[in-house]
């Protein structure tokens, strides 16, 4: 199972980063969002930390939809899905492998989005960094666990991206709130609460959707058309 996971991760990253047009589309969309949102501020104004955090997570979510739609589409062209189904290992390995690959790609994209938030939306990092980093990892984990499931769900559909968005966005609300809550604190919002409670919520989300992914993926990723 571990071998299958590793093979899927390596293959997806190779195909996305080295052979395809990679993250370009997802990155451009995210950056455009930052730029367009910066129009909402008057000249010389600076966006509130919460707005900046919101745009950051919005970009990440769009990016995520594109990433998972892309890496699940890899199996569609020559029906390699059936090949993966025949591998004598639990099929959940494919879910996990794709989730990990998506996680790496998302982190890469966010490396670009962070400076964009600082440049376009005039932010400064003034709060504690550790909770923000933790929140980033936890939220990304949940997004990928769910994204990998939704990617399999939308697979084979002509309107993949829009379908994924309408299903993915509302489900992701708790996680987005957590991400925005913690990140806006780091960017300087005064808040009576600790980041703790949000981190705990993110953990709960991760746990629930990891379980759901493991249990439900087998139904989605099957041979029957």
């Amino acid at each position: 199972m571990v071998r299958l996971i590793a093979a899927v991760v390596r293959k997806d990253l190779t195909l996305t980063l080295l052979r395809g047009n990679g993250l370009v589309q997802a990155l451009l969309l995210g950056l455009l969002l930052f730029f367009v949102f910066s129009l909402s501020q008057g000249v010389g104004e600076r966006a509130s930390p919460q707005s900046a955090a919101t745009v950051f997570w919005l970009s990440s979510t769009f990016c995520q939809v594109l990433i998972f739609s892309q890496i699940y589409a890899l199996e569609e062209i020559t029906n390699a899905r059936f090949g993966l189904l025949l591998v004598p290992a639990p099929i959940q390995a494919v879910w996990l492998g794709k989730a990990i690959a998506g996680f790496c790609l998302l982190l890469l994209a966010q490396l670009v989005f962070l400076p964009a938030a600082i440049v376009f939306l005039g932010q400064t990092v003034s709060g504690a960094l550790l909770p923000a980093l933790l929140a980033l990892l936890l939220v990304d984990t949940g997004m990928c666990a769910l994204g990998s499931l939704i990617g399999a769900l939308a697979q084979g559909q002509g309107t993949r991206e829009s379908l994924m968005s309408i299903v993915f966005f509302p489900l992701l609300v708790p996680l987005l709130l957590a991400g925005i809550g913690v990140c806006s604190q780091t960017l300087g919002t005064e808040s009576p609460d600790d980041a703790d409670i949000w981190l705990r919520l993110a953990c709960a989300f991760d746990a629930v959707f990891f379980g759901a992914g493991l249990l439900l993926f087998g139904f989605l990723y099957s041979g029957d058309d």
Partner: protein
């Protein structure tokens, strides 16, 4: 199978009648609320709507699990009917909730955890219905919908909790509605919820019977 529409019709008529009787309770029996006046009567329709919307979503959840385990198309129809009903009822609950909020708190919308949860659920299950209406192989579609039905309901408590935390971060000036209800009001609300439940069950069964008929017609047409 023929029993279904008959039972559905009986339930529908009974539900309508019971709910009509409840109007007497609402407007005559229950006392007028001191601060909100007549607008408070919205509450008696809002609560049953919200309640049965949530029950519909729970039915989708249970039906989806059963479908995944048993693969019987009946469960898929149950889920589809319940999801349609849930979206309709939660939509109406949102409208009545907004009216209530306007009258009670002076604004149309607030980060009330219950209101927010209802809205998010409305979004999720609307997506579910979009998925259900898509052109794809039937087998695949029912499995995909069933998985979404399970995942969507798992999200409910998380959405509720997160909305509650969010509210504490952005302190709302408004206290959550409800609170101490007078006994007459309580009785009226319970009667309304119950009467609406009968109506709901009738609607669900009727819709299921319709969907079953639809499937048969399609099968016959394909057989030609």
């Amino acid at each position: 199978m023929l029993k279904n529409p008959v039972l559905a019709c009986i339930l529908l008529v009974a539900g309508c009648f019971a709910f009509a009787c409840c109007q007497w309770l609402v407007y005559v029996y229950a006392p007028l609320e001191a601060t909100m006046g007549i607008a408070q009567k919205i509450f008696y329709i809002h609560l049953p709507l919200a309640w049965w919307a949530l029950v519909s979503f729970f039915v989708v959840f249970l039906g989806s699990i059963c479908y995944l385990l048993k693969r019987s198309p009946g469960f898929d129809r149950l889920c589809a009917a319940a999801a349609e009903l849930g979206v309709l009822l939660s939509g109406l609950a949102l409208v009545t909730g907004a009216l209530w909020a306007r009258k009670s708190w002076g604004i149309w919308w607030t980060w009330d955890p219950r209101l927010t949860t209802t809205l998010i659920m409305w979004f999720v299950y609307s997506g579910y219905l979009v998925l259900h209406g898509l052109e794809m192989p039937r087998q695949r579609k029912t499995v995909v919908c069933a998985v979404l039905g399970v995942v969507a309901f798992l999200d409910v408590p998380l959405v509720f909790i997160s909305a509650r935390i969010w509210r504490s971060v952005h302190p709302a000036v408004f206290a959550a509605g409800g609170g101490g209800l007078e006994p007459e009001m309580k009785l009226t609300v319970i009667a309304c919820v119950f009467a609406f439940g009968v109506f709901w069950a009738g609607l669900l069964l009727l819709r299921m019977a319709q969907l079953e008929l639809c499937a048969r017609v399609q099968a016959l047409r394909q057989g030609e």
